[in-house]
Symmetry: C2
Subunit: 344 residues, 2 copies
């Protein structure tokens, strides 16, 4: 069951021209006379000719598509980033191919290599929480595959990167908790492998320091799998509770919702006493509670910026050697106490 479309050859034959002429006419090359162009274009329109992108890719050795690697699309932050990516990519004539790692290094490597073999022209990637070894990316990069990192970026990789101002976002969220009277502010966070984890930890520490609150390492809990497994979260929450935190600063979308669920499940009686401030791009959290404050990342914009940088690399005539790391501001969304949480 194959379906057939008309090709350049068909048009050439029908019009008594050569394939080269037809090809050039379709691509609007200057060498072709207006007359012939019109003829070809009209006929192409008539038979509903669509260029075969596969053949074109083979010939030109590029696919006009860019690969995206995220941990999960079912994550508001990432799906917003993807929307930003698409908004730019499609305008510039690129197609996007999305792959999910589900926070697994193995899956990440597999997906990247799969994409690379599909001859993507460039790669946009946010590393998985498991990833430590990025040599496979270095290899591809060295072979000429343009790569732009976003959100979760490696430190020692000379290419463009786009991140949120994680330090400030974390600082603001933590400060907010402190200013609302919390003194024992715990920190629930992602794998230590991630750049965002390190940066947000620093912001948390800086806020504590500003208010002369001692930093206690035991109040920081890491989740290696970024909260993909609920046991992981429940365990973290369980270990945190003995210290009687009155506030928790949480460093990711998935962890924020996961933590609330874990609290609800394991310790419903004290859950409402703990104020939470966390990174999240979900607008649903507004529904949770008056004490949940969120740090929103400019996800859509991040996708746009990253894509523009990537396309500039792809289309550069000479190898790019000057790289930038764009840092975008986050926004702290405080919940209004007044609305209450039991509006239902």
């Amino acid at each position: 069951m194959r379906f057939e479309t008309s090709t350049i050859k068909d048009i050439a034959k029908a019009l008594g021209l050569s394939t080269s002429t037809v090809s050039r006419a379709l691509r609007d090359r200057y060498e072709i006379s207006e007359e012939t162009k019109k003829l070809v274009l009209a006929y192409a329109e008539k038979v509903n000719y669509r260029a075969n992108p596969i053949a074109r890719s083979l010939k030109e050795r590029r696919s006009y598509s860019i690969g995206i690697i995220v941990s999960e699309i079912a994550n508001n932050f990432f799906s917003q980033v993807i929307n930003g990516i698409e908004s730019i990519a499609y305008d510039r004539g690129y197609h996007v191919i999305i792959s999910q790692t589900h926070e697994s290094y193995k899956q990440e490597k597999l997906n990247v290599e799969h994409l690379a073999s599909r001859s993507i022209d460039g790669l946009l990637i946010a590393l998985s929480s498991e990833t430590q070894d990025i040599n496979y990316l270095r290899d591809l990069y060295a072979k000429g595959l343009p790569i732009v990192f976003f959100d979760r970026v490696p430190e020692d990789f000379a290419t463009h990167k786009v991140i949120a101002n994680n330090f400030k976002g974390a600082f603001d969220a933590t400060e907010h908790l402190i200013l609302s009277g919390k003194r024992t502010v715990a920190h629930l966070t992602n794998s230590e492998n991630l750049s965002i984890t390190r940066e947000r930890l620093k912001g948390y520490q800086a806020a504590l320091a500003k208010y002369h609150i001692e930093f206690k390492p035991e109040l920081v809990k890491y989740c290696q799998h970024g909260g993909m497994h609920s046991e992981e979260l429940e365990q973290a929450v369980k270990e945190l509770l003995p210290y009687k935190p009155d506030g928790i600063f949480i460093s990711s979308d998935r962890l924020t919702t996961g933590c609330i669920m874990a609290l609800k499940k394991t310790n419903p009686e004290i859950a409402h006493k703990i104020a939470i401030a966390g990174f999240t791009n979900s607008n649903l959290v507004e529904l949770f509670s008056p004490s949940l404050t969120s740090v929103k990342q400019p996800a859509f914009e991040m996708g746009q910026v990253a894509t523009e940088l990537l396309i500039s690399m792809i289309e550069a005539k000479r190898p790019v050697t000057e790289f930038e790391t764009k840092i975008l501001d986050t926004e702290l969304v405080r919940m209004q106490k007044t609305l209450g949480n039991r509006f239902l």
Copy 2:
């Protein structure tokens, strides 16, 4: 900036064989001696040979990729379906390309045609809420593109379809509201264009009938854009409130969360008096309220089943003429009253 990989030709030259022999050895054809196979395989491994899928696609006139059209990936139902699709597709050697319509017909048509020109081998699609004219799909189907519909399916299109038991899901949810004492149960739903809208309406009506409650058309509100615009939802809620509903059955993920937000925003004082039961695959809703009951669709499974059907069509030697419509059961998840809603 292009990057080079070794090809069959390179291997052939290095080993003093012909490209045909190398190709056959790599594909493990019977004609090739074990000895040569080993030789080729070893060398291919050594130079890290990756077959060029583009060339293969061109030659075989298929791309080993399937297109997916959903309204939004930032929707738990669809992202779970996609995970289901991927789980099967990758196993069977297919790649997936995801496109979003954002509930726009124009976008849907554009995306489908784009995918078709990228020579996808088959299409999995859930129609946008705006879609009424599916002739463009008929054309592609007639040209030989295998299509399987899921979730939002057209009535008069002879191909495989996979849907949830929307009637029963709606019936159960509505009955649940009635059994918990609600007598004025409104229905907030999607565009009338959609199959799910019609089926769920019937389930709602049947439940009312079972308990001898009169069906009132004014208690049913349609959202043409599936809740993509918040004004749309706020308007619907506003129109519903004068009838003083004590329960609302909501027919989709996005509408459920959107409705709660609209209630919170416009009428926080009465919001908590209204019980809600809705179709949603978000596990976050568990956090909302004790009175929110959800109908969960077997999204992951739906993706799997649809993909298996699609691949069977793609790989069929002769045109398929017998089609099935698989109906999967939904699950009603009642909230436990005990946990309360202000656990935070």
